[in-house]
């Protein structure tokens, strides 16, 4: 498993956690707040790596099953425990978490009898708040608590570059220094400069510096700002929190802004901004119903103000909503209106970005010529704007469209050449498109090089879904070129970071790699069962059929004929339903062989697995 970069600040917190564990004697309650996902996996990996070494007591990882009581699970005696799973799953997860918090509170005094060393609770912010509010006696026992902060990552709602180019912090700092020396002091202006500095720092991923600038802006506004200034600052905090994936924080700051607006008489500017942020926040959270309700008044408000950029942003948000609702025509109209506005505003880079979205929308709607035309316009505007990120994104998009249209020459032309956006999200997209071009040309070495560049860009940006996607492509490339290490690491990374669908593909891939190495074991059958369950959960029926088919063959090889037959019959029904006649015939063959044999013979079964595998592999 590859290590995940938690960032310097988090590394420091982890070091303190390690020190706290090493210094402790006997039972000690430790709370680690980290959201589920890549970072949590890394935290758990490190905790397990420390266990029993360098003074850290032995720690046993205890993962609660859905509905399982933490107190019952800790029955018996444990040297030390890392407890995960208090988030609970399902529709009643809030209630379940509350119940678990109550149980822990109630049983607090008995926990030291069961856990003789550290009890490390790895929890989300939601659970931590529940413990704080519902289990105060238990919570007050914590000997150490820490929080792993999310790393900077892209905007969920829009590409990070869909906004004016970030300002240069050095320039802003110089302005702050000059303004500070003014007599009489220009405190409010200083506040505004600090707010701009916070934004500039945040866009560069410099969160601690951004936070300091926000605090400085706040202090200045307390001394000389207006209500509007303070609301503006709260909205900025909300926005910056959303950019770093801290959705709860974003909601909280937005709520404070709402309260502040309600407490006074804000200007129309601030009211419009609040509506704007509320609409964008709803889009961010994927709350389409609220977004649909919030967008029209927000658009009206920003139109009244004449803020073309914000209006265009909302229209693009509306287009994204229309896309989700399968209203393609509305999506097109909204995007075109956004392009017009940005053109009128003379914002070349943003216009190019909007044109790129138009190209993508047209391509997804099957209007390929129109997509290429939008793409060419986008590249032209992007080049004129001089924004490296915009150029990279526009070229990547057009390159992909050209590839999809089979226009390799056009793809080659737009994807060629150096672009200064290496290591950014658009840089990643460009590298990805270049890899696809290389794959079309059957240049595996070049494809691998570009895929690795894309992986690096997405990883640096902290986009786990994209990292998993590229990892799967790398794994497939490794499998095709028989580079097993490449294939294995790719599948493992996707299995760790991907969503359910990606993990289903990865689990199937890992099982197939094991089979290819001649391993036919019950563990692989279990892995294939997990793959098919995840595929079903991800609504990937074909993938589920494939997993069942292969599992059926493995079970036959293990002599578990009854189970194998059942899996094969389900797979057969799936293949038939989805019109995959060739595969259905292969399964029927396997079932027929099973019927003929009088007693299970592993050699025959292994051959069946081998046969199934060799026919299945593309």
């Amino acid at each position: 498993m590859e290590a995940v970069d938690l960032g310097a600040e988090n590394d420091e917190r982890m070091a303190r956690l390690r020190e706290a564990l090493a210094l402790g004697e006997g039972f000690q309650l430790v709370i680690v707040q980290v959201e589920p996902g890549e970072q949590r996996e890394e935290v758990l990996r490190r905790l397990q790596g420390w266990a029993g070494r360098s003074g850290v007591p032995w720690l046993e990882l205890v993962c609660l099953a859905p509905g399982e009581s933490p107190v019952m699970r800790l029955e018996g005696e444990h040297a030390g425990v890392i407890l995960v799973g208090l988030e609970a799953d399902g529709v009643d997860k809030a209630e379940r978490t509350r119940t678990m918090a109550t149980e822990l509170n109630w049983s607090r005094d008995r926990l030291p009898e069961r856990v003789h060393g550290p009890l490390v609770l790895v929890v989300s912010q939601r659970v931590q708040s529940e413990l704080f509010e519902q289990a105060p006696d238990f919570y007050s026992w914590r000997m150490h608590s820490t929080s792993i902060v999310p790393q900077p990552r892209a905007l969920g709602r829009l590409p990070p570059w869909f906004e004016p180019e970030p300002e240069d912090p050095a320039v802003l700092e110089a302005m702050i220094a000059e303004t500070s020396a003014l007599e009489p002091p220009a405190i409010r202006e200083l506040g505004r400069l600090y707010a701009r500095l916070a934004r500039a720092r945040a866009l560069r991923g410099e969160d601690a510096e951004a936070e300091a600038a926000l605090d400085a802006a706040y202090d200045a506004y307390v001394r000389a700002g207006t209500l509007d200034d303070r609301v503006d600052l709260l909205l900025l905090r909300s926005d910056l929190a959303a950019r770093t994936g801290r959705k709860e924080d974003a909601s909280a700051w937005l709520e404070q802004a709402r309260q502040k607006v309600r407490s006074g008489l804000p200007g129309p500017d601030v009211s419009a901004k609040l509506l704007f942020h509320e609409a964008m926040h709803a889009l961010d959270r994927g709350d389409f119903r609220s977004a649909a309700a919030a967008l029209p008044p927000a658009i009206e408000a920003v139109t009244t103000l004449g803020d073309l950029h914000k209006e265009a942003t909302l229209l693009i948000g509306g287009a994204a909503l229309a896309f989700h609702l399968h209203a393609m025509q509305e999506e097109k109209l909204l995007l075109e209106r956004a392009v017009e506005l940005l053109h009128d505003a003379g914002q070349l880079a943003l216009e190019a970005a909007a044109l790129t979205l138009c190209a993508r929308a047209a391509a997804l709607a099957g209007r390929s010529d129109e997509a290429e035309q939008y793409g060419l316009d986008a590249v032209a505007r992007a080049e004129a704007s001089g924004s490296a990120n915009t150029v990279a994104e526009a070229r990547a998009r057009l390159g992909r469209i050209a590839l999809a249209n089979g226009h390799l020459e056009l793809a080659d032309e737009v994807l060629r050449g150096e672009v200064a956006a290496v290591g950014t999200h658009p840089g990643g997209e460009l590298a990805e498109a270049r890899a696809h071009l290389a794959l079309c040309r059957r240049d595996d070495a070049d494809a691998e090089r570009h895929l690795r560049a894309a992986l690096e860009a997405y990883r640096r940006e902290g986009s786990p879904w994209e990292v998993a996607k590229i990892s799967l492509e790398i794994a497939e490339l490794g499998r095709r070129t028989q580079n097993w290490t490449l294939a294995l690491t790719g599948f493992e990374a996707a299995d760790r970071l991907g969503d359910t669908g990606q993990r289903a593909v990865a689990a199937l891939g890992l099982a197939e790699l094991s089979l290819a190495r001649g391993e036919v074991t019950a563990a692989i059958a279990d892995q294939l069962a997990v793959a098919s369950q995840m595929a079903v959960a991800a609504d990937a029926a074909t993938l589920a059929d494939r997993s069942r088919w292969l599992r059926g063959a493995v079970l036959l090889a293990l002599g578990r004929d009854a189970e194998g037959r059942m899996e094969l019959e389900i797979a057969l029904a799936g293949f038939e339903t989805r019109g995959q006649a060739e595969r259905a015939a292969e399964v029927r063959d396997l079932l027929a062989q099973l019927g003929e044999r009088s007693s299970p013979r592993s050699s025959d079964s292994s051959a069946a697995v081998h046969e199934a595998r060799s026919k299945r592999t593309p």
Binding site: A20, E25, D109, Q256, S263
Partner: protein
């Protein structure tokens, strides 16, 4: 609480990093063997020695008069430590009289999701059954009460044997873990409650005849009832109010009862002491470290800080562990006068700095705790209210009860001198969420 006294495992006051951390473990209530060395009398800065007052009221009770002592306090204020101390004091003969203390830890007998009067009666019976010198089989009412309990259990769908000595431990476990049975048991008890109450009264009386004459008075100390989560009963009313205001007052046994209750009930419109017979409420407050509202300049409360310094000095060697007095005072101020928070902050200092700890170490150690409050407070609707409390030292009369409960339970707001005044926890005051909600901002 069976464990080795801390002074047997390390030299106190502690000097080394590891020892400081162990000496300041916030999850260890003081056991009787540790009291002499570690207990600091904070009564002078908490309004009075409230636990001594509880003891005095019990000892002063005349003849057939029994008292109900209702004790509460914030998490970390030292309830368990104080109750253990009370039990220990009551067992000592004073003026020729000692008490037979039956310590009932609610955790051992009850399921937190279904605590009602019938279960509590069974808990008292079960607790008596394991007391030395007590033999329930030799009483008249013991087997009769057991027979009644068996009848209810049978109606609830569970058969249990007639030998109460053998079967009580089984029932005790069942009532803790089998929520379904507990609910059925409570439902089926409805028609028998008067008989059960009458029988437990008789049983306690009979048990007293088995005790030595100079120790024949019983004191039930029922701890951890304050941890019962509030919820709704089958009739859609608050469980806390049902249990503490309606059902528990019906428990009329010839013994003194000391029980803990949720602090939120301090703010219930019906006062607990009005519904219990011969009752007193005791709230263990935090130690005041800031002057009360009304003082001209609200600086440090020198007496409070000095008391906590003495408490700390029993555990760590201050002149070796801290660089100067300013650092000691700083960490005490940040604790808000909450002993457990003070111990936690000092116990954490070895992870952020080297001995001797300076004010910079204090700043470093509180950073994580401030962040914790930050995450919890952000977006909360009661943030502006905190500024009012900070300024006036009181909750406005129209404060939402659920907010009040959340703030007090979560140690966002601390109570001093038994409800005389309140303040916002110093760590909460440091958050951006709090500062951003300031009326001046």
């Amino acid at each position: 609480v069976a464990r080795q006294p801390i002074q047997d495992t390390l030299t106190l006051p502690a000097v080394g990093r590891r020892e400081v951390r162990a000496a300041c473990d916030p999850s260890r209530p003081l056991i009787p063997e540790e009291q002499a060395q570690l207990h600091e009398d904070l009564s002078i800065v908490q309004g009075a020695d409230r636990i001594a007052q509880v003891e005095n009221r019990i000892r002063d009770a005349w003849a057939e008069s029994y008292v109900s002592e209702l004790v509460t306090g914030h998490a970390g204020c030292g309830k368990s430590t104080e109750l253990l101390r009370l039990a220990s004091e009551l067992r000592k003969p004073k003026e020729g009289r000692a008490y037979h203390v039956v310590y009932v830890d609610a955790y051992d007998y009850l399921n937190p999701f279904e605590v009602r009067l019938p279960q509590l009666v069974v808990s008292l019976m079960a607790a008596l059954s394991v007391e030395p010198r007590v033999d329930l089989q030799r009483t008249r009412s013991g087997p009769r009460l057991w027979g009644q309990v068996r009848l209810i259990l049978k109606a609830a769908g569970r058969e249990i044997g007639g030998d109460l000595t053998k079967e009580i431990p089984v029932l005790k476990s069942l009532l803790r873990v089998d929520l379904h049975l507990v609910r059925k048991f409570r439902e089926q008890s409805d028609d028998h409650i008067q008989q059960i109450l009458s029988l437990i009264r008789d049983l306690v009386l009979e048990v007293r005849t088995q005790l030595p004459p100079d120790q024949s008075e019983i004191v039930f100390v029922i701890d951890n009832l304050e941890k019962i989560p509030d919820g709704e009963t089958e009739t859609k009313v608050s469980l806390h109010e049902t249990l503490f205001l309606r059902e528990l007052p019906l428990l009329d046994v010839p013994a003194h009862v000391v029980l803990t209750y949720p602090i939120s009930l301090n703010y219930s419109p019906v006062a607990l002491r009005q519904v219990f017979h011969n009752a007193r409420q005791t709230t263990i407050p935090m130690v005041g470290i800031r002057q009360k509202p009304g003082a001209e300049a609200r600086g440090d409360d020198a007496a409070g800080i000095a008391a906590l310094r003495r408490l700390l000095a029993r555990r760590v060697k201050l002149d070796k562990v801290f660089a100067d007095d300013a650092a000691v005072a700083a960490v005490i101020r940040e604790s808000g006068g909450c002993v457990r928070d003070l111990l936690r902050l000092v116990g954490e200092m070895p992870t952020v700095g080297a001995i001797p700890f300076s004010t910079a170490t204090v700043e470093a150690v509180i950073a994580d705790y401030v962040n914790e409050y930050e995450r919890i407070l952000q977006g909360k609707p009661y943030l502006p209210l905190l500024h009012t409390i900070e300024r006036t030292g009181a909750f406005p009369v129209d404060t939402d009860q659920s907010w009040k409960q959340q703030l007090l339970l979560g140690l966002v707001v601390l109570e001093y001198d038994t409800g005389t005044w309140y303040d916002v926890h110093p760590l909460a005051k440091r958050t951006r969420a709090y500062r951003a909600a300031s009326p001046e901002s």
